[in-house]
Amino acid sequence: MKRLFADIRLITSKDLKIELRSRVLINQVAPFALIILVLFGIALDADQKSLRNFASGLFWISVLLCALMAISRSMTIERDDEALVGLNLSGVDPLAIFLGKTCAIAIQLLILEIFLGVGIILLYRSEVEDFWLLVSTGLFACIAVSALGTIFGFLASGLGVRETLLPILLLPLLLPVLIGATRAFDDALGVAAINGWNWFAFVAGLTVILTTVGAGANYLLADN
C-alpha cells in the first residue's frame, strides 16, 4: 500500500515536472481555453445577460475540450520515446500508473478551471454566489473527467487515430458529469433557482463510480 502511494506520487510529480518544463498547458491549452470563451461570446452574439446565463455551460464545455488536449498530451509523453514500455517493465502496479496519470491530469485541469473561472467572471461578468459549491464541484468533476479520460487515453493509445477517436468515445460518456457540473455551477453563479448542492452530490457520486470503473478497466487493460 505504501509502495502504491509512493509510485502514484512518483508518476504524478514526474508528469507535472514535465508539464512545467514543456509548458504545453500554459502556452497552448490555456490560450485555447481563452479563445473558446471569446469565440463563444462572439458566435452567440450575446448581450451580457445571456452570456451570464450560459456561463456555466460554456465553462464546462471549455473544460472538456481542454481535457481532451491534456489527456492527449499525457499519453504523448509516454509514447514519444516509448517510456511506457519502461513503465511496464518496471513491475509497477498498473493501478499506480492509472492513478498517477489521473492525478496529474486532474491537477492541470484544476489550474485551467481557475483560469477559466476568472475568465467567465471577467468576460461574462458572472457573479459568485456560492464559492464553496463552485470549488467542490470543480474539484470532483475534474477528477471524474481525468479518471475516465486516462482510461480512454490508454485504450486508444498506440492507435494512429487516437486524437480523433478520443472525443467520440469520451464525450458522450461524460454527459452526466457535464450536466451535473453545469447545474451546480448555475446555482453557484446565481443564474438558476435550483439546489446546486444536490447536483454536487450527484457529481461526487459520479466521480466515485467513474474512478472505480476506470481502475477496474485499467486492470483488465493491463497486459497479463
Binding site: I18, D80, A83, V85, N88, S90
Partner: protein, 222 residues
C-alpha cells in the same frame, strides 16, 4: 538451467507474423549474439523475451516463468535496451535515472549509491547530468538509456543494437558491462548488425531469418 526456452513460438506484430516459429534455448551465463538481416525478427524476439508480447502460438518460459501467463513476473526481472531511448525528453539525465530507479522499486537505502554507480559507469559527468535529455547528442542519450538499463540490475539482459550511436569509448564500456554482468550471474542476448564486435564478445551466435532460427549452434569467439 535454461534462462530462455522457446518452443515453436509465433508472434504477431500488427497482424504480421514477425516470428514464425522460434525454437531457442539460452542457458544461464551465456552471451548470445542474435544476428540476421533487417526484418528477420530480432527486435520482436527481444520484446517477446521481455514479456511484452502475448505469443500467438507455441510455448516458452523466461527465467522459469511461463511466457503466456506470467509475463508480469518476467517483466520485473528482465532489462530491455531498445531502439527508442525510453526516456522523458523534458527531464534531465539525473531526473530520468532517479525516476526509473525509484519506480523499479529499488531499496530506498540503495537508490543513491546505485544511481551514482550507474552514472559513473556510463561516464555521465555532473555537467551532463543536469541537461535535459532533449538537448543531448545521440551518443549521450544512448549512454543515459544504458545507465537506466543497468541501474535496475536485471537478470536477463536484452539489448537491441547496444553499440549504435556510441563512440569508441562508449562501445568499450558496453562490452565491459556485458562481461561483468555475466560474471555477476546475468544472461545476455544481444541483437546487432555489428558482426565483428559482438561475435568476439559472445559465447554463441544465433542466426535469425524470416522470423525463425536458421542456426543456433555456432560458437562465438569469446
Amino acid at each position: 538451467m535454461s534462462v530462455v526456452k522457446l518452443d515453436g513460438l509465433v508472434a504477431l506484430l500488427e497482424g504480421f507474423p514477425a516470428l514464425t516459429g522460434v525454437d531457442l534455448t539460452v542457458n544461464a551465463g551465456e552471451i548470445v549474439f542474435v544476428k540476421g538481416p533487417n526484418g528477420a525478427g530480432k527486435t520482436t524476439l527481444l520484446h517477446l523475451c521481455a514479456g511484452l508480447i502475448q505469443p500467438k502460438d507455441g510455448t516458452g518460459s523466461i527465467l522459469g516463468h511461463d511466457l503466456s501467463s506470467e509475463r508480469t513476473e518476467i517483466r520485473k526481472r528482465v532489462g530491455l535496451l531498445s531502439h527508442s531511448s525510453g526516456l522523458y525528453r523534458d527531464l534531465t539525465v539525473l531526473e530520468n535515472i532517479t525516476f526509473w530507479t525509484q519506480i523499479a522499486g529499488v531499496e530506498q537505502s540503495e537508490i543513491d549509491s546505485r544511481i551514482v554507480w550507474a552514472l559513473e559507469r556510463m561516464e555521465l559527468g555532473s555537467k551532463l547530468q543536469n541537461q535535459k535529455v532533449r538537448s543531448l547528442s545521440v551518443g549521450q542519450k544512448r549512454r543515459t538509456s544504458l545507465a537506466v538499463f543497468i541501474v535496475r540490475r536485471p537478470d536477463l539482459w536484452l539489448m537491441d543494437e547496444p553499440h549504435a550511436g556510441l563512440d569508441q569509448e562508449g562501445r568499450q564500456i558496453v562490452d565491459d558491462l556485458i562481461e561483468e554482468s555475466v560474471g555477476a550471474g546475468a544472461t545476455v542476448i544481444v541483437a546487432s548488425h555489428d558482426f565483428e564486435r559482438v561475435a568476439n564478445l559472445s559465447t554463441r551466435i544465433v542466426t535469425l531469418s524470416g522470423g525463425a532460427v536458421l542456426d543456433a549452434d555456432r560458437e562465438g569467439n569469446r
